[in-house]
Symmetry: C2
Subunit: 145 residues, 2 copies
Amino acid sequence: MKVLSQTSKYGIRALLYMVSNPSTGEYVSIGEITKELNLSFHFLTKIFRELTNKGILYSYRGPSGGIALAKPSDQIMLIDIVLALEGEDYFDNCLLGFPGCGVEKPCPVHNFWKGIKEDIKSHLCNTSLAQLGEKILAEEVRLFD
Amino acid sequence: MKVLSQTSKYGIRALLYMVSNPSTGEYVSIGEITKELNLSFHFLTKIFRELTNKGILYSYRGPSGGIALAKPSDQIMLIDIVLALEGEDYFDNCLLGFPGCGVEKPCPVHNFWKGIKEDIKSHLCNTSLAQLGEKILAEEVRLFD
DNA sequence: CATATTTAAGAGTATTAATTCTTAATTAAC
DNA sequence: GTTAATTAAGAATTAATACTCTTAAATATG
Ligand code: SF4
Ligand code: SF4
């Protein structure tokens, strides 16, 4: 069951690393993150470029540069990251892939699927990076393997 | 959000066509189904071969041959089809793709994700082809576009 | 200014999923 | 037995995703 692409998974994990490691400087380098989380530097750079273009991150080039959250972590919701990386049409999908749906009668699994999607959406809308970062700092949950 | 592969989507739609079209003969030909649902004949043939190998369908070659449900439609649950086509490890996934999970502390989104997976699983376990077929026959829902 | 550090941009490659194609085997009917 | 209808098996192709690599641009520091 693939709900998130690798791109989103890596993006979220990297952001969670950032909020759970209150660093000294303003910017944290992508190299540090990929080293700590054992991700591909070039891949994460590409992912973060997208988040920078979408206004979720700031970036700064040069020594002691890196990336930083564009907003306080309690104002960045998981949904922002997912929609930025998966596309705004992320929830416009059909469980059974019926063509041209939503117009006439629903398909046999619509009610079920609609409910599940709403559950996922509302959770992503109501969960901030700050909330998850706190859980990591409190060591209730883990971020590494 | 890709929860089911095209394989599963086509497989389920084709089986729903079968249960909602009580045909005269014992076997229904794959060609008829793909013509009605506008699917690729060769692709559906491959999908049904898998379901035949897994014991969900019977097949019979030659004129007036085709495929048939191996069990009454009220005994075939959606979960049977999904696990047959997506693999038995379909639910062994992690929303954030953490490596080697489930051993120590959970990741920050585990509780949420676990709940969603259970909702999906229980619904797939409790929904039979017969139930959905009835809804189609009652014209409450649609099967075509 | 020279150098080192860091992100930006996008081309290139590899892997996986999806689809199509080819050939063979089975069976019914004439 | 010949033909037509049908599934079986799997190779071959295409498309999408995931990942890597190369080059350029920006910036700090000495
Ligand atoms: S009715 Fe709902 S679940 Fe079914 S195909 Fe349409 S949008 Fe998807
Ligand atoms: S804790 Fe749960 S959701 Fe998170 S990575 Fe592990 S299995 Fe997946």
